[in-house]
């Protein structure tokens, strides 16, 4: 008798435990639909977030300044709202995207995953969007969504609603931005000799061979450099415009026609790069390239960083005589990066609270001051006093003015084109394939579609 009672109790408890995940899933699914309909007030969201208690934030951890800022500014701010911030630092954002996709594939749906928020843009956002693994259009629904201009007709609001050409649909909220800025070592490269176009760079390298190199694709810094070359050598003279279309709209034939002059230029430039014609040296990542720049082996170094010269002169990553230059003229790629929330987030309310905090004025100002990353919010949406505070928090520029940098921007390439261009560089410039470019691109596109 007693045995039967105990075993039935245990069976009941086991059944209850098994049913728990489904109860939790239903609660999360309900929260999601209620929030997206606008049925919840922000105070209710804050309360639910406090009950959830923690948020798993995944972001690229390669910048120490950023890591310190997350631990010493964001974590306490979240703690004040009753949420523990669990900062997961990645070597590559793709790892978090892979995790979300793998968990979704393993059947861990809404409320069951392990990623609450990811700092990403471009191909990574496209990967999640394509598999429909995003929480939903939350960006305009959070209070600090007012810090952004959402009117699609406004050209200044382009980057808020399109991420590398992919419509965001409000599924990610802008957090930071970057411009691809090149720095020159003034101790070795005087202002008079500084190139401002790619042809001038080639002339300079013919006089000083081996004094430049760029990070190699498939690293995103290499991809961006190659894209700028393609914009500059666009045979129609339309710069970045045709590269905003997706691969389906543009087609590999047209892409090959537009990319041919640029890739030919890079192929011809190779013997003039660091290491000369015998052993051309493309650094594998930003740290290696910065090392070459510091040692004076290269006179110019390009990477993402609007305020990079200011912050890196302080940390010692750049030489003290480094200055920014306007290169290439009219084609300096500018983009935004975002905080996205995946659909299988285990703590949806806490994720929303984190995203809202990241878009707040205070967070943006402290990030600008302490980390040197440009603000993601739109200054013209703020009160004049707040906008002034934001502008005053920015690190200084060396050798250029903010207006000059703003006057030479170009949009980033459509995310679906990035992998094809990267594969073409590897085949055409690195492996010196003799196939026609159109064929290389068609094969790359077919391989990616598989």
């Amino acid at each position: 008798m007693r045995l039967a009672r105990i075993s039935s109790l245990l069976a009941g408890a086991a059944l209850a435990l098994l049913a728990l995940p489904t109860w939790a899933d239903e609660a999360d699914a309900q929260f999601r639909s209620q929030f997206l309909e606008g049925a919840l007030s922000w105070d209710q969201v804050l309360e639910i977030a406090r009950a959830e208690g923690q948020v798993q934030f995944y972001y690229w951890g390669g910048d120490d300044n950023l890591n310190v800022w997350v631990d010493s500014v964001v974590a306490p701010a979240m703690a004040q709202l009753g949420i523990t911030l669990r900062a997961n630092r990645l070597t590559a954002t793709k790892d978090a995207v892979d995790l979300v996709i793998a968990e979704a594939g393993a059947g861990r749906g809404i409320g069951d995953g392990s990623v609450d928020a990811i700092w990403l843009n471009g191909e990574n956002f496209l990967a999640l969007d394509r598999q429909q693994l995003l929480f939903g259009p939350f960006a305009q629904a959070v209070p600090n969504g007012a810090n952004f201009a959402w009117d699609e007709a406004d050209p200044r609001a382009q980057l808020n609603s399109r991420d590398f050409g992919t419509p965001t649909g409000g599924q990610e909220i802008p957090w930071s931005g970057e411009q691809y800025v090149c720095a020159a070592n003034r101790a070795l490269l005087p202002v008079a000799d500084t190139p401002s176009t790619f042809e001038e760079l080639r002339t300079y390298l013919q006089a000083h061979p081996g004094k430049f190199t760029y990070v190699k694709p498939p690293h995103y810094l290499g991809n961006t450099f190659v894209q700028q070359v393609l914009y500059a050598f666009n045979p129609d003279g339309t710069g970045a415009q045709p590269f905003q279309k997706s691969l389906d709209e543009l087609g590999t034939e047209e892409l090959a026609r537009l990319s041919q002059p640029g890739l030919d230029f890079l192929k011809d430039l190779e013997p003039l790069l660091l290491g000369g014609p015998d052993a051309v040296r493309y650094p594998e990542d930003a740290a290696a390239a910065q090392g070459l720049f510091r040692n004076g082996e290269i006179h110019l170094h390009c990477e993402f960083g609007l305020y990079a010269v200011a912050t890196r002169r302080d940390t010692g990553a750049y030489p003290e005589t480094a200055e920014e230059i306007i290169f290439p003229q009219g084609q300096m790629i500018k983009n935004k990066s975002y905080i996205a929330i995946p659909s299988n987030t285990p703590n949806p309310a806490a994720a929303l609270v984190l995203a809202d905090y990241m878009a707040s004025l205070e967070a943006q100002i402290s990030k600008l001051e302490l980390v040197g990353y440009p603000a993601g919010i739109d200054p013209w949406q703020l009160d004049p006093a707040d906008a002034e505070r934001l502008a005053a928090a920015a690190p200084p520029h060396f050798g250029v003015t903010q207006d000059e940098l703003d006057a030479n921007i170009a949009a980033d390439t459509n995310a679906s084109l990035v992998d094809v261009i990267e594969a073409s560089w590897l085949a055409y410039v690195e492996r010196k394939s003799t196939q026609p470019l159109a064929q290389i691109m068609a094969e790359a596109a077919a391989a990616l579609a598989r």
Binding site: G105, A127, G210, G275, Y282, G291, N295, E297, E430, A447
Partner: protein, 293 residues
């Protein structure tokens, strides 16, 4: 006649090793073979059995160039470590001033990880490194580009320097242990009978240390063939050695390349396995010819 009984003591003692080897090693090997032949449902790909990945890989010139470089860096550095290691072990038999200290110092590279050794190579041998800066300080060169390019070339001096630096003490240790155990009676007898130093080494010392030498050298060779960090950081770029090629395939955003990466990894295993088997067969033949087996 006694019935054969299961030796439970031995089975239990061998169980942990068997489990680890079976599950982790053989299991991973089985999964790798499956994935390289197209079985990868976790990436949404199932074309088993599909030899196209191997076919595509083995028909690419980059693969053969990479294989050649891998073998070159592996074999040449093992041979250099062999020569230096045996020489050092023989020299350490004598006693000299500071020998006790040197006995500890020469083992230091064994304790320093490969990553640190690679950093040392970059710091010392790079164009912006210490050697280059010293030459600039005394005025021999005035620009980093004038320093000869030692690392990041396909000649692989940096890579081989790291391997030799780490593996010479390993071989010295193996050989010195054998020498210490052997004693010097045979060598002394030969010297008394009038044999020269070179003849003593070739005909007496070398056959005695050969077993330990072969196993240590094969361990070093196996490591060098599969090593990734040194060719990645100190290598000359395209064409890469095979482990670096495999890493690039695994790191790619395109999931289809994971299968290509697995095929490269298995090719490395095949080549290394074949090389080891041939070396052991040759060693066995040598020993049999000398009547020692």
């Amino acid at each position: 006649m006694e019935q054969a009984r299961l030796d439970w003591g031995a089975i239990l003692a061998l169980a942990p090793v068997t489990l680890v080897l079976g599950l982790l090693f053989c299991g991973a090997l089985g999964l790798a073979i499956g994935q390289s032949l197209g079985f990868a449902p976790w990436y949404g790909i199932n074309t088993f059995p599909d030899f196209s990945h191997f076919a595509r890989l083995w028909s690419a010139p980059a693969f053969w160039a990479g294989l050649g470089l891998t073998l070159y860096y592996g074999v040449v550095s093992t041979l250099m470590a062999l020569v230096l290691g045996v020489g050092l072990a023989l020299a350490l038999r004598k006693s000299f001033a500071g020998r006790r200290l040197f006995d500890h110092v020469y083992k230091l590279p064994l304790m320093i990880p490969y990553g640190v050794a690679i950093a040392l190579a970059v710091l010392l041998l790079g164009n912006g490194g210490i050697a280059s800066r010293l030459l600039a300080w005394v005025g021999v060169i005035s620009d980093p580009a004038q320093f000869p390019r030692l690392i990041n070339t396909h000649a692989g001096w940096g890579i081989m320097a790291v391997y030799v630096w780490k593996q010479t003490p390993f071989i010295t240790l193996a050989v010195a242990a054998v020498l210490a155990g052997m004693g010097r009676q045979t060598q002394e007898a030969a010297a008394v009978l009038g044999a020269g130093r070179v003849r003593i080494f070739w005909e007496i010392t070398l056959p005695q240390i050969l077993p330990g030498l072969v196993s240590a050298a094969l361990i070093c060779l196996a490591f060098n063939l599969g090593a990734f960090e040194a060719p990645f950081i100190l290598g000359g770029g395209y064409p890469d050695t095979l482990p670096v090629m495999a890493w690039r395939a695994f790191n790619d955003a395109d999931y289809g390349r994971q299968l290509e990466g697995t095929a490269i990894a298995l090719s490395i295993a095949l080549v290394a396995g074949a090389l080891l088997l041939l070396s052991l067969m040759a060693y066995r033949a040598l020993e049999r010819r000398h009547g020692r087996v």
